[in-house]
Amino acid sequence: MNDSVIVLSIASAIVAGTPILLAALGEIITERSGVMNLGVEGMMLVGAVAAFWCGVHTGSLTLALLVGGLAGAGLSLIHAVLAITLRVNQTVAGLSLVIVGSGLSAFLGSVGSSPLLEAPNGVDVSPLLPDWMADLPLVGPILFGHDVVVYIAIAAVAFAARVLYHSAFGLSLRAVGEDPAAADAAGLHVVRMRYLATTIGGFCAGIGGAYLVLAVLGTWQSGLTAGAGWIAVALVILAGWRPWLALIGAYTFGALRGLGFTLQIAQVDIPSDFLTMIPFITAYVVVVAVSASPTRARRVAAPAALGEPYRREQR
């Protein structure tokens, strides 16, 4: 039963969706503070290359994830300086981050005699929970058969949702994203909060990239995210800036990305290029549908000051 197509597909969707989930969660935190960082794709790539390098050299998953996260955070710091301190157009700044990230990762991924081309044999991404749990019928592979990062990502969603709505930090973060002038007058440090949120977002995206290269793909290849970062950016809108909805969306996109595998087993003959298109077409259709919905859910949910730099001494 546990080898059935459906069970395996769902299990693989969760794994394939986890990098997108981590990146989207980070971007939700960033955007909630009013900063729009479109550079997710770039941060994921840099996180991936750094984590791969670290994984090859140390064999430690923890260390590799950490290094990947720090690399993503480092790149996001550039965005923070551009968007928050220098107050340049956030769209343009985010795009420049994507191009820097893909250039930097491609460059670093090809440096020297390239130990990077070797697979990270030592990195252990085996299932976290004991075998008897993973072998439980149906729920085993879907719920208990995953590596530690899948569970960390779910825990992070729960934690983020809790913090956003039920803590002083979350309230402050949302205030900074809704109305920075009011937050400033209330004594919150708008710039500091936004830097922090942007860096957290970069860290999450970096871990997402790290997980993608270490667990999902297993080997480094230039441009390996193939749009996953952009899917994450779209997902933030689709999820209405809410962590739990991002989780559902990310797993759905994971399933769409793994659709080829499923259909192959089901012996449905669809050209692989069309399978590649499916997540992107889905994201396109849903983004348009959300903006067409009469309730305008999107506009209500978006942080009111998203993308707007804050400047205090303004006259």
């Binding site: 002083a168 309230l171 205030a175 809704e178 109305d179």
Partner: protein, 516 residues
């Protein structure tokens, strides 16, 4: 916290602050102690708001000192100011609309958070509210509150955080008369419990009626001070405006006008607001040639939606707008302009003018696609420059330079630029929304003169203003708006100020009142 052991004291000495090299506050000093209300009087542009922002820790002074309880302090941030017991209630409220009252009150105060703590917060807020007569519902979202309620939240927030010195910046600017009375009752209770209150205002009567001592500001400097009881209106006016001041304009005889035909007719207009609720509810009225119709009301009662719908910037769901005999209900802003509507929007920079573009561009914003400014789709920069130069000269617009974005110009000159463009083009009726807001005395006076001139030349004027005194001063007919409806209509000379004040806050009956 309610009665400090020793009275709090604040001294401000020779404070200065410049923006872009232009001094806004240029050597101001005053002092206040617990148990008194100190008035800061000055016209718009005298430096009051900048002074307040420095006391709130929002702006850093260029020089001078702030002495709190005998110690010189540096107020590095609003947080810092709040921690030292200085609470600021801004003229434009600083509340997060999507948050509840309680969330706004605890914002920036981490200790007050947590689930258990939050229940305590609501209790404490209710207790403070009862103590000072500032009732609000702690769990209501702020965007649902009226202006008066929002102000109460701002004050409660400061009291909650233990403010000992409260600075109220133009607190009555947006309140109806009886709401103001209620505010001052609360202020007196605060003073009685040992707080020091700084009341910042440009209204002399308010300062004379509610303060213990006064400091007058003019052009960013101290222009006089004294104990309120010893001062007179004339004395204060001289300090405010200098010795050349010759009295307010409402003394001048009002010419008698016989209004003509309807030039703007609004019938059964229904408009949906930003929150999806009905913002303008079956509003009908007309403006005749040779008269100024003023719309009074506390802001947020549908005025903005109404003038935007008249101008064609917002669509109406029902009803009609007729401009000079043409039914414009289904037309866009351009066609309404062509039908004879001139419009001064509330939002000068951003709607009335494109902030990042130069004056030449803005002066032809309405007419760029017509001759002589363009031919067959191509602009004539010579003709545009000529028009712009003429309008700048005729309306005395200053501070404009070739290629410079208009956002660098002052509010008064921006308004003159809009007036120049709107009044030079053909028009039969002028809709002016908050045309004098934030302008200094001279600029505001210039705008009012333009409105008079419009009326005298036989056109119609529809004036929206939060400043009730201005509406009463200028209008031949006063309409009162409350919750999206016109709840009263008064024609000169039968204007009942008290009744208008009550109608503005819904205190009177729901039945539309008419003295016309």
């Amino acid at each position: 916290m309610d009665s400090p052991a020793h009275p709090v004291s604040l001294q401000v000495k020779d404070l200065r602050k410049s923006f872009y090299g232009v001094p806004a506050v240029d050597g101001v000093g005053f002092d206040v102690v617990g148990g008194e209300i100190h008035g800061l009087l000055g016209e718009n542009g005298a430096g009051k708001s900048t002074l307040c922002s420095m006391l709130a820790g929002l702006y850093r002074p260029d020089s001078g000192s702030i002495v709190l309880d005998g110690d010189t302090v540096q107020l590095r941030s609003p947080d810092d100011a709040a921690a030292r017991g200085i609470g600021m209630v801004y003229q434009h409220f600083r509340l997060v609309d999507s948050f509840t009252v309680a969330e706004n009150i605890v914002l920036g105060d981490a200790a007050a958070f947590g689930r258990k703590a939050r229940r305590g917060v609501e209790e404490r807020v209710e207790q403070l509210a009862a103590e000072y007569g500032l009732e609000v519902h702690p769990s209501a979202p702020v965007w649902q509150l009226s202006v008066g309620e929002r102000q109460r939240v701002e004050i409660l927030k400061q009291l909650f955080r233990g403010a000992r010195i409260l600075i109220l910046d133009e607190p009555t600017a947006v309140l109806a008369p009886h709401e103001s009375d209620r505010l001052f009752e609360a202020v007196r209770l605060m003073v009685a419990t040992g707080h020091a209150v700084v009341l910042v205002s440009h209204k002399m009567q308010e300062i004379l009626g509610h303060t213990d001592r006064v400091t007058v500001l003019r052009a960013g400097r101290n222009a006089g001070e004294g104990v309120t009881n010893s001062l007179t209106t004339a004395g204060l006016a001289t300090m405010m405006f200098g010795s050349t001041y010759t009295g307010a304009s409402d003394d001048e005889p009002r010419a008698l006008h016989t209004p003509g035909d309807d030039v703007l007719a609004v019938n059964g207009l229904q408009v949906t607001g930003d929150h999806g609720r009905t913002a303008v509810d079956s509003v009908s009225f007309s403006v005749r040639r040779g008269e100024i119709v003023g719309v009074a009301g506390v802001s947020g009662n549908g005025q903005r939606e109404l003038h935007e719908a008249i101008a064609g910037l917002r669509s109406s769901t029902e009803g009609s707008v007729t401009i000079d005999g043409h039914d414009c209900s289904k037309l866009g802003p351009k066609q309404r302009h062509a039908a004879g509507l001139a419009y001064i929007p509330e939002d000068r920079l951003g709607t009335g003018l494109a902030p990042g573009l130069p004056i030449e561009h803005n002066m032809v914003l309405r007419s760029f696609s017509r001759r002589p400014h363009s031919r067959a789709g191509w602009l004539s920069s010579a003709a545009i420059a000529k028009t712009s130069a003429r309008l700048v000269r005729d309306f005395d617009v200053r501070g404009a330079r070739d290629g410079m974005p208009v956002s660098f110009m002052s509010g008064g000159n921006l308004q003159k630029a809009i007036l120049a463009r709107e009044l030079t083009e053909h028009h039969e009726v002028l809709v002016a929304a908050a045309p004098t807001r934030g302008l200094d005395l001279a600029a505001a006076e210039a705008v009012r003169n333009h409105l008079h001139r419009e009326r005298d030349s036989g056109r119609g004027v529809l004036l929206f203003s939060e400043d009730l005194a201005e509406v009463l001063d200028l209008s031949d007919v006063v309409l009162v708006m409350f919750k999206g409806r016109v709840v009263g209509s008064f024609a000169r000379p039968d204007v009942d100020i008290e009744q208008i004040g009550l109608l503005m806050t819904g205190a009177a009956t729901d039945e539309p009142t008419s003295a016309t």
